[in-house]
Amino acid sequence: MQQPARHASLVALMFVLLASLLAVAPAARAGVRAGIHDGGTAILDFSSDPVSMDPAIAADGYSLTILHVLFVTLLTNKPGTTTVVPWGATEMPTITNGGKRYVVHIHAGIKFSDGEPADAHAFKYSFERILIPATKSPYTGSLAGVVGASDFVAGKAKSVAGIKVLDPLTIQFDLVQPDNNFLYDITYAALSAVPQKAVEAAGAKFATHPTGDGQFILQNWTSGVGMTLVKNLHYFDAATAGHLDKLLLHTNVPTNLAVLQVEKGMADISAGDVNGGDGIPLSLFLTIKNDPRWKSYLYHSTLPETWFFVMAMRDKPLQNVKVRQAIAYAINRQKIVQILNGRGVLASQIMPPSLPGYDPSIPQQEYNPAKARKLLTEAGFPHGFQTSITMFTTPPGPQEATSIQYDLAQVGIQAVLRIVSLAQYSTLAATPGGSPTQINDWLAIEPALFMNWTYNSNEIQAGNNMAEFAVPQVDALLNKAQQLPLAQAVPLWQRAQRLAISQYGYVPLYYGVEYDFVNPRIGGFQIDPNFLYEYQQWYLK
């Protein structure tokens, strides 16, 4: 692999030299890098406002894509892949003490735009800020496994014992127990460094006027209207620096209008609210896909995202595994993918194909209403029963739920639909017994998340394991896997999943396929499995 790659870059270099010779003076001045011209402005249409530009507060995917170019984290995923690579760190952390101690060396010269260094102190300050209850951060959970975190939260300690600044460029984390997910945790935008002076000076205003150290700087944000990001000229790393001078983000543009704006060249991308493929509404998708004019505008990629049907296992009729199996047979998953106009791939299991732990030997669930009826009769429900399906309003959620409702009615199960807002949906999910069945999805690059949030009984309380799936054998495997290095965890996850899938607490529906509608003048566009968009890679052709 090494040789051809180097060869290719040589050819590219020669091509660039030739091109810059031909392209006369202006191109040479504009800073040419591997055929990429720097400069220019891209216009992005979003359908709502991001929540916050304070990394400790924002938890929505939309804010996160922007925070990703405003603040540097220690590690990140390699753009376009699920592989974790160093970013603010000089190399991957050294893990010692049986997987409980992580030592990270930080790049010298990372500076916030106010000149404060983004060093080990800044990271420690930022992490402790998240844990202080007054910050009201939704990320306390991701640091809960650090030694001394709970004492700090409770106000019993002045600082977190498990976060140590060894020298200004070295930080050390001690965990209560080994956790292979910690590497992924420190890729979260929330766990970037923040400048103490600026944070303390700005107070709550930091959320709208953040001082960052990423590839771009937030120049202004008018609530409801838009944001302007400009290139950070003092960004620390030439290899990952941004190319565009400016990103103009329009917020609150309905997606059906955003798509038309892209067609007209008034915007470069319809991004929706960065919620897995909602930039192109269902109503416009097929015309765009089938129109040769837009062929060069369409990008697509299968995301590490699994949609599944959840059945509360302690609910009366659903207690019976035969009833749950019947429902698995009754759901016409192919029809759902068809309703989505092919923006999904049938799922055989919860773990998506792009992540370690995916098990190709698990077969697809068969669609067989006759068998479903037979199973229901065996379970003592020959005429079905009444239940309800909860789903959130974001399209095409209601369509999916209506499709499943119809399938269930065909085998005699009468389900009432409860289409609720996302906020209500998550509270219902967090209430045990809140809803007998629902549709849900995970979108993440952490394999452990897919397994634990679905099948681990210690996630019931948090409202993630909504089926209240609790099989001691599965719990044991998952808890053990969590403490092992990734490669050794994979076989345990696979065993756990094989055990779990025959319990039918969850019916995997499909893996999400993201389509994006982007003006072809944008170069370097790539759908990223973690952030969807990697703005620093974009340039104008």
Binding site: S47, S48, D49, V51, S52, D54, I57, A59, P133, A134, K136, S137, P138, Y139, T140, G141, S142, A144, S150, V153, A154, A204, A207, T208, T222, S223, G224, V225, H250, T251, N252, V253, P254, N256, L257, L260, Q261, E263, K264, M266, T393, S421, L422, A423, Q424, S426, T427, L428, A430, A462, G463, N464
Partner: protein
């Protein structure tokens, strides 16, 4: 007169208090735990408890209300659960857009409605009258979001003369105003027509006509002045329904007004923001009703003496 004014002001305050109670009670009924939503799914119970305490959610409802009221009279509606930003400045930032759409819509409504009404009254029984009546009926029968999307498609996409949604430049205001105004204009058309016809049949107008004054002068001088009273009353009664209409229009055109803000807040169960926007909208309606009341008295002195 002063007494009447003071009484009105007092009632305005009472009405606002009532609205605040209503929003608080409905808000209390909202399912779900805001502290859990803020803390995120992975947070421990201790963190959730702490946040609940910080927000005062562990207090009895009436204590919460009392605190809310104490802050609200000082113009402090608290922090948004979702963004942790102050509620009132956010509302003020969005307010100009709603005002622009509302005023634009009202102008469109009155201009279209009144002029159609005058035309149809003056040309009563002609084909023109028929066309006007049909247009008015059409306006009554079309859902505004439906009309809005079709207008956007035609004038924003097929023949792009205005922006495709959003708030760039000043031309963005045209389509939302027309959309909002079209449905309401029908009422003004009918009202103006009726009022005009009544006036036109009054003796003094007939006299004016007999004296040989040109038609246009009669219409403008006498009949129109009398029709105005009705229009002002209706405009006053309109404000509430209008704000509701603006809520839908803002969705269609992607306008970041307080309607869109309130709607997002309801979707996110962002209680302080819901309370803030509802109270803000209510104050707006109450104040403008009051203003209309004063204006009404000024236009028609008979009212003043009556009250």
């Amino acid at each position: 007169m002063t007494r009447h004014l003071l009484e009105r002001l007092l009632w305005m305050a009472v009405a606002l208090l009532g609205v605040s109670v209503i929003t608080f009670v409905i808000g209390d009924l909202l399912p779900g735990d805001p502290a859990r939503v803020i803390a995120g799914p992975q947070a421990s119970q201790a963190v959730v408890r702490s946040i609940r305490h910080q927000l005062g959610l562990d207090q009895a409802v009436y204590v919460q209300y009392w605190r809310f009221l104490g802050r609200a009279v000082r113009g402090d509606f608290g922090l948004s659960f979702r963004t942790q930003l102050e509620v009132l400045p956010t509302i003020w930032a969005r307010f100009p857009y709603t005002v622009a759409v509302g005023v634009g819509g009202l102008l469109a409504e009155i201009l279209v409605g009144v002029s159609l009404g005058i035309i149809s009254a003056v040309r009563r029984g002609t084909v023109l009258d028929g066309i006007v009546i049909c247009t008015a009926l059409l306006g009554l029968s079309i859902p505004s979001f439906w009309l809005g999307l079709i207008l956007l498609y035609v004038f924003g996409y097929l023949w792009p003369i205005v922006p495709l949604g959003g708030t760039s430049g000043w031309t963005w205001i045209i389509l939302p105003s027309i959309t909002l105004g079209f449905s309401g204009s029908a009422f003004y058309t009918r009202m103006t027509r009726t009022a005009m016809l009544e006036t036109l049949s009054e003796d003094y107008v007939r006299t004016a006509r007999a004296k040989g004054l040109p038609g246009r002068t009669i219409v403008l001088k006498h009949a129109f002045r009398n029709a105005i009273r009705t229009v002002v009353t209706m405009a006053g009664m309109d404000v509430g329904a209008f704000l509701g209409g603006v809520l839908v229009i803002e969705q269609v055109f992607g306008i970041p007004g307080i309607g869109a803000l309130a709607w997002q807040a309801i979707l996110n169960e962002d209680l302080p923001m819901i309370q803030g926007t509802v109270l803000f909208a209510a104050s707006l309606i109450i104040v403008s009703n009051f203003a209309i009341d004063l204006m009404y008295g000024w236009i028609d002195p008979r009212i003043r003496t009556a009250s």
